[in-house]
């Protein structure tokens, strides 16, 4: 599943970039996500709990960052395994920031998400809905945080 | 996990058991009461092999907790025949070749029994609609429809004969 989002943030590009490469802040902006341990300079351990109504799914795994400071492009590879045979999730996401003005930046996110197991199988496009929603919430929080900052 | 005392009357006979909250009615019937005529065919409430009557209402017993049935009158396939033999619907299935492997048959019979109780003379479309929650993989349904029609006709005949006697 490929998700592509482009949005503008009313904040300087530097600040947006600083946010996007800070695992703690990114996790805080994603409902259900947390960073539990730093493994090395670019790799972290973490978890993601997805709760949709009565449906619960929790993943634990690692996040690896590969930063291209010059082009302000961050490649993030998150992979996690669900609890109780829920299956695995793997996301390769590249986010890049371009300054549109002094206090305005454009963020482009391209993510390739592959999910295995029952949530992907139920054939109702549930994961598409859930991930779309997560992205939306993330961009909202990002926008708010930075605008406030 | 909480345990509950459950009393159900199955085919006229009362049974009490202490069960877990999560025990499914179909497992109470099959495993605890050893009435294995009621079958399990899916997990998602689609196939109807587990259909029983709960207070006369055809119900998929894999999607009801045993505790929910506490105090209920339950009818299973084992209760359809009596001392006089098989019911008109059971006879219809035999006469019209409404079954092959027999696995979906108990569920079909329970749904059909309830249909005929509510509608003595169902049309083909009504029969097909009524059994649309019961999957059969062998017969192609044509002969199941005929079996229900056979039973309806037989029961109407018996009613007519009974009415004549009353006169």
């Amino acid at each position: 599943m490929r998700i592509e989002e482009k949005f503008t943030v009313s904040a300087p590009a530097d600040e947006v970039w600083a946010f996007l490469i800070d695992p703690e802040r990114v996790a805080a902006a994603l409902p259900g996500a947390e960073i539990t341990e730093k493994l090395d300079e670019t790799t972290y351990k973490g978890g993601m709990a997805v709760k949709v109504g009565p449906l619960n799914a929790a993943y634990t795994g690692t996040v690896a960052f590969d930063l291209d400071e010059a082009n302000r492009s961050a490649a993030v590879h998150a992979k996690g395994q669900g609890k109780a045979g829920m299956g695995n999730a793997d996301m390769k996401m590249t986010s890049s920031v371009v300054a549109l003005g002094e206090d305005e930046a454009e963020v482009t996110v391209v993510a390739n998400l592959s999910v295995t197991g029952i949530l992907a199988q139920l054939g109702r496009g549930m994961m598409q809905h859930v991930s779309k929603k997560m992205f939306k919430e993330f961009t909202e929080v990002l926008g708010k945080e930075l605008a406030a900052g | 996990m909480a345990r509950h005392n459950v009393t159900v009357t199955v085919n006229g006979e009362a049974h009490s058991r202490e069960v877990d909250s999560r025990l499914l009615l179909v497992h109470l019937i099959r495993d605890e009461l050893a009435l294995t005529g009621t079958h399990i065919g899916c997990d998602t409430t689609h196939c109807g092999a587990c259909t029983v009557l709960v207070d006369g209402v055809p119900t998929k017993s894999c999607t009801v907790l045993a505790v929910q049935a506490d105090g209920a009158e339950i009818g299973t396939v084992e209760g359809l025949a009596d001392a006089n033999g098989m019911s008109a619907l059971q006879e219809g299935f035999m006469q019209e070749h409404g079954l092959q492997c027999g696995f979906c048959t108990p569920g079909m019979l329970m749904t059909g029994t309830a249909l005929l109780a509510a509608n003595a003379n169902p049309s083909e479309a009504e029969i097909r609609e009524a059994i649309s929650g019961n999957l059969c993989r062998c017969t192609g349904y044509v002969n199941i429809v005929k079996a229900v029609e056979y039973a309806a006709a037989k029961m109407a005949g018996a009613d007519a004969a009974g009415a004549e006697e009353d006169n």
Binding site: L122 | R30, A34, T36, G41, F93, M94, L99, G140, I144
Partner: protein, 764 residues
């Protein structure tokens, strides 16, 4: 054909009511999940959520802490006994439990054994398996790419994902015809991966007696004898030799080919019973059944027909890719890796043909079962009938007319097909005529033309198929080397009642009734007095089982032949009782009488009593016979089906208005049962035509893994099938029967529902 026997005897041709029905109708069937043994434990299986990957770790700690969970078996545990791999029926290998790699979603990863099914399920949820996912190979065409990863690294010398290449026919001669033909049409088609979806799932109850070293396995198998032999081959080295194994196949809630293979769950249950010394039951749930058990079809076919300008078919050429999943676990005869696909020239006379099939490995469940069909015959018929339709459109002929002009004429039988079959008998035009008459073909074509002129959509589909059943003659047919004969043993007791045992196993086909009728036909004993038994390897004679519509052509024939042996003996006894010589006897079913003096007679029951009480000198007492029937040829039933559909132009919804099926399956034993089998086959053809399909996404997720998305037709979608028949007896079968039980014959010209723009030629 009028029955030869009285209604009391109820031999062939009578629509005898089924002997098995009273128990099924009263909830007294004995299906696998109905068995309980003292001290029985439950097996439930941990399955892979991913399609392909390494197993990093299996942590069973939490599972073992659950009250009632006794043990967790992994591939490493089985490896210690060399039981972690097993052979498939096609001489490939398949994992029982993986030691390092999982190859498809829902593959067995570990077995949890507990004191109840609830505790076992909790245990499954608590086993923590860490995977390192790898990119799966899902598309069978990509599986053959040079850069595709080799999936079966366990197989020595396996350098790509090709399993085998098979071909039939004269390629050069066929190519020559194509080069010079007036008309060539071509169509690519996919008969999708589907599933038998019998309403009863698979399961077993393994009971190992550690004191006697004896194993009894109650299991839902269509081929109990073959399974016992396979079990002995797999586990002989740990002491389970064939005489110590008893397989009992109880009532089966639908098989359709899906209960032929050996699934890992059976072996795990047996291993658990051996290890724990207790009976262990394993019953699949529906999702396991759909996601892990053998599939059917999944043939990607590229078909071409060469014809002259009038539409006379000259040659057929088919290139096929068969997606077998991660192992070739078909239950096909050894010499026929593509089954009987070479029946693909069907009902039409042509100069030459060439067909080839390449089989590949992918990250999907293994299989390729003969689903309600005789080994790939459905695929062959679908392919041919669709391309013939395309030809009719191309040359502008009515599809029925084009077929008629190409039929093998009835005088041409026995007919040698270009791909090497000898068709036993046929009258294709008669079946076509009857189908057209039943449905009112010409009127429908007129209505269709009018509707199309108004912009309404209505389709008429015609199919004239020839099947090949009854595998099979031992010179060509074996499974794992075991010849594909089948068997019957008939015993007539002193009071004139009989028991007959067969090597096959009914799953709803009504063997208890039809076999009794066959014995009744031959011996004149009332069918009601013939008890039929199957499925217990301790008592039944060895046979290859029931699948691929082979029971009547093989075991049915064996029953007739065994009964004839008994009749021959009865004649000797009758001659003795009537004090005449055998040559002076007349035989009417059930009675021997003296030629010219019909009132001087004895019944078959008299003879049976005498066989135990009053024998002619020198004759062996008793009245029983066994026959292992090795058919001289296969049988070639045929028929014509015509279907009318209305299509909603707005939504693409297809509704079947009428469907007429005219079948010719030779002489019929029980018309009621045959009609029922045809209804079932038609419905299982409707399924994949409009509703059923196993699909996978690019990550290898099975998207039709429950009845939510594997759409088995209900009574509402299924039309009121109309059936008719013609009778062309098989010249070589002892009863003239050809067999039935298959027939999922449905075109899939277009998946119209998903394409609201449905082209007006749909099914036309």
């Amino acid at each position: 054909m009028a029955p030869r026997t009285s209604a009391k005897i109820c031999g062939m041709g009578h629509s005898m009511k089924r002997k098995e029905d009273p128990r099924f109708l009263q909830g007294k069937g004995n299906y696998i999940d109905d068995f309980t043994l003292p001290g029985m434990l439950w097996l439930d299986i941990v399955r892979s959520p991913i399609a392909y990957g390494k197993i990093v770790n299996i942590d069973t700690t939490k599972a073992l802490e659950i009250d009632g969970v006794l043990a967790v078996l992994t591939g490493k545990d089985l490896e210690a006994y060399n039981l972690h791999w097993m052979p498939t029926l096609m001489s490939d290998t398949q994992m029982v439990l993986p030691t390092d790699t999982v190859m498809y979603q829902a593959q067995e990863v570990a077995g949890v054994i507990a004191t109840s099914r609830y505790a076992a399920a909790d245990g499954v949820a608590a086993v923590e398996v860490e995977y390192e996912p790898m990119t799966p190979v899902i598309d069978p065409f990509q599986a053959l790419d040079d850069d595709a990863p080799v999936l079966r690294t366990d197989k020595e010398g396996q350098e790509d994902n090709r399993i085998w290449h098979w071909e039939a026919g004269d390629k050069e001669a066929t190519d020559r015809i194509f080069d010079e033909a007036d008309v060539v049409v071509r169509e690519k088609m996919h008969v999708p991966r589907i599933h038998v979806a019998s309403i009863e799932t698979c399961g077993c109850l393994a009971d190992f007696n550690p004191v006697e070293g004896h194993l009894t396995v109650y299991m839902t198998t269509q081929a109990p004898h073959a399974i016992r032999t396979v079990l002995a081959l797999v586990a002989g080295h740990v002491g389970l030799s064939e005489e110590k194994i008893r397989v009992v196949s109880p009532d089966i809630g639908g098989g359709f080919g899906g209960k032929v293979p050996v699934y890992p769950g059976y072996v795990i249950a047996i291993a658990a019973s051996v290890v724990l010394g207790k009976p262990v039951k394993w019953i699949e749930d529906r999702m396991e059944n759909l996601q892990a058990d053998s599939f059917a079809r999944d043939y990607h076919m590229d078909a071409e027909v060469a014809a002259d300008s009038s539409g006379k078919i000259r040659a057929l050429r088919i290139k096929t890719l068969a997606d077998h999943g991660y192992a070739d676990a078909q239950a096909a005869p050894s010499k026929f890796p593509a089954g009987l696909f070479s029946i693909c020239t069907g009902s039409y006379d042509m100069e030459n043909a060439y067909a080839e099939v390449d089989a590949v490995y992918t990250n999907k469940p293994p299989g390729g079962v003969a689903y309600r069909c005789s080994f790939r015959v459905t695929e062959a018929v679908h392919c041919l009938e669709r391309i013939v339709d395309t030809l009719a459109h191309k040359v502008g002929k009515d599809p029925a007319t084009l077929r008629e002009e190409n039929f093998i004429p009835k005088e041409a039988f026995p007919y040698h097909s270009p791909l090497g079959w000898e068709y036993d008998s046929g009258d294709y035009q008669a079946a076509m005529d009857k189908a057209k008459e039943m449905i009112g073909y010409d009127d429908l074509r007129r209505e269709q033309a009018e509707k199309r002129a108004r912009g309404e959509l209505m389709g008429i589909g015609v199919c004239s198929f020839t099947e090949v059943l009854g595998a099979g003659p031992s010179k060509d047919f074996d499974i794992l080397g075991i010849k594909m004969f089948d068997s019957a043993e008939v015993r007539v007791h002193p009071t004139g009642k009989a028991i007959a045992r067969f090597g096959t196993k009914s799953q709803g086909q009504g063997h208890e009734t039809t076999y009794a009728q066959i014995i009744a036909e031959e011996l004149g004993l009332p069918a009601a007095h013939v008890q039929v038994e199957e499925g217990d390897t301790d008592t039944a004679p060895y046979g290859l089982g029931t699948y691929a519509s082979r029971s009547t052509p093989t075991a049915g024939a064996a029953g007739a032949m065994a009964a004839r042996k008994i009749r021959d003996k009865a004649a000797k006894i009758a001659a003795h009782l009537l004090e005449v010589s055998e040559e002076d006897l007349d035989w009417e079913p059930g009675t021997f009488s003296v030629k010219g003096a019909p009132d001087k007679s004895v019944s078959i029951q008299d003879c049976a009593f005498a066989a135990y009480t009053n024998l002619p000198e020198g004759l062996e007492p008793g009245m029983e016979a066994t026959n292992y029937y090795d058919p001289p040829n296969l049988t070639f039933p045929f028929g014509t089906y015509i279907c009318v559909v209305d299509i909603d132009r707005g939504t693409g919804e297809v509704s079947v208005r009428r469907f007429v099926a005219v079948d010719d399956c030779g002489n019929i034993i029980n018309p009621m049962i045959v009609q029922g089998q045809i209804h079932g086959g038609l419905t299982q053809g409707l399924g994949p035509a409009l509703y059923e399909e196993m699909t996978y996404d690019e990550d290898g997720n099975n998207l039709a893994g429950s009845f939510m998305d594997y759409l088995v037709p209900t009574a509402v979608e299924t039309p009121a099938w109309e059936t008719g028949h013609t009778v062309t007896p098989s010249p070589h079968h002892p009863l003239g029967a050809k067999g039935v039980g298959s027939r999922p014959r449905w075109g899939r010209r277009r998946r119209s529902r998903m394409r609201w723009w449905t082209r007006s030629r749909t099914w036309g």
